[in-house]
Amino acid sequence: MNETDRDEAFARRLGELLQESADGLDGATRSRLTQARHRALAQLGRRSVQYSAWRSWAPAGALALAVLVTLGYVSRHGTQSELITGTAPAPALDDLLLLADGDVLDMGQDADFEFYEWAAGGGDGGSVGT
């Protein structure tokens, strides 16, 4: 056996001794090592719960943001349309809400229908009340 082989055999023997000492640890030490391992692995579970909670709220948050952006776009888009075409835009949200109001617009018993007819005619000078 040459020097190198003797060194390798010697190192192997020492490694076996050390391995035996690791395998022969007393029960209390083995138990504490097991507890340490479980404490370390518990971190994985906590990280997963935090991430899962964030993911469950993300779609709701995205939806709320989308609604706000859409409303902002619709209200701005209506104003621009009026300027470009000169026509009355689709009723804005406020107007829709007003029209949807259950209360009937009270024109009054003495509503001046003749006036309104005249106004609808473009005010062509037809005498009112005549």
């Binding site: 010697f10 190192a11 023997r13 020492l14 490694g15 000492s21 090592l33 370390a40 971190q43 990280r47």
Partner: protein, 205 residues
């Protein structure tokens, strides 16, 4: 799955399947890490215990290394775990040793109270009464002699020897664990072997 998510027809199902994927992935990661940590914890404890000569410090060092590996490196490929773990462990051992040196210096300034035990173990300090190396020594005596010899090695030589002989790491893995070149690992290991043979080789002649 949250109650709100179930009201959303376009997102409820997607969130549920993503959560299931996440849980499965975490479970697989946990199983892999648990298996790895279980395979190294006893050897890691012996490595730390021989370096620190204190069971509690060794347990603390191993626990710290486990926590840090899981916290920071659990997503790395499993092949990286062993060198990373032993790198972290060696750093923790070094921290404990430094702390002990500082504590020793501070304590040496304080007057010792009457009846207080000195820090050194007088049995450890006493000269070995054994008549000399004998071919067949009891296993315990050989182990004690081995531990003494390992503690006398320079840190890097001890590290290289323990990683290669006890943990069975090859030169490449040992180099990554020690943060040095493969050539350095070979040199440290060779010198450690020579020193150990000089102290213990007669036991196996």
């Amino acid at each position: 799955m949250s109650a709100f998510a179930t009201l959303l027809p376009f997102s409820g199902g997607c969130t549920g399947s993503r959560d299931a994927d996440l849980r499965a992935s975490t479970r697989a990661e946990t199983v892999g890490l648990e298996s790895f940590l279980a395979s190294v914890e006893r050897k890691a404890f012996r490595i730390a215990q021989i370096a620190l000569r204190n069971e509690q410090d060794a347990l603390d060092a191993v626990q710290d290394a486990m926590l840090q590996l899981v916290r920071k490196y659990s997503r790395r490929p499993p092949g990286d775990w062993k060198p990373l773990f032993y790198r972290i462990l060696e750093n923790r051992v070094r921290d404990f040793q430094r702390r002990r040196v500082v504590r020793g210096r501070v304590m040496s300034w304080l007057p010792r109270r009457a009846g207080e035990e000195p820090d050194e173990d007088p049995i450890e300090q006493a000269p070995d009464p054994a008549p000399g190396p004998v071919a067949a020594l009891a296993g315990d005596e050989i182990m004690r002699a081995l531990e003494r010899a390992l503690r006398q090695l320079p840190e890097r030589q001890r590290q290289a020897f323990m990683l290669r002989s006890l943990e069975g790491m090859d030169v490449g893995e040992s180099a990554r664990a020690m943060g040095c070149s493969e050539g350095s690992v070979k040199t440290h290991y060779f010198r450690a072997l020579q020193a150990l043979r000089a102290q213990l080789g007669e036991f196996w002649q």
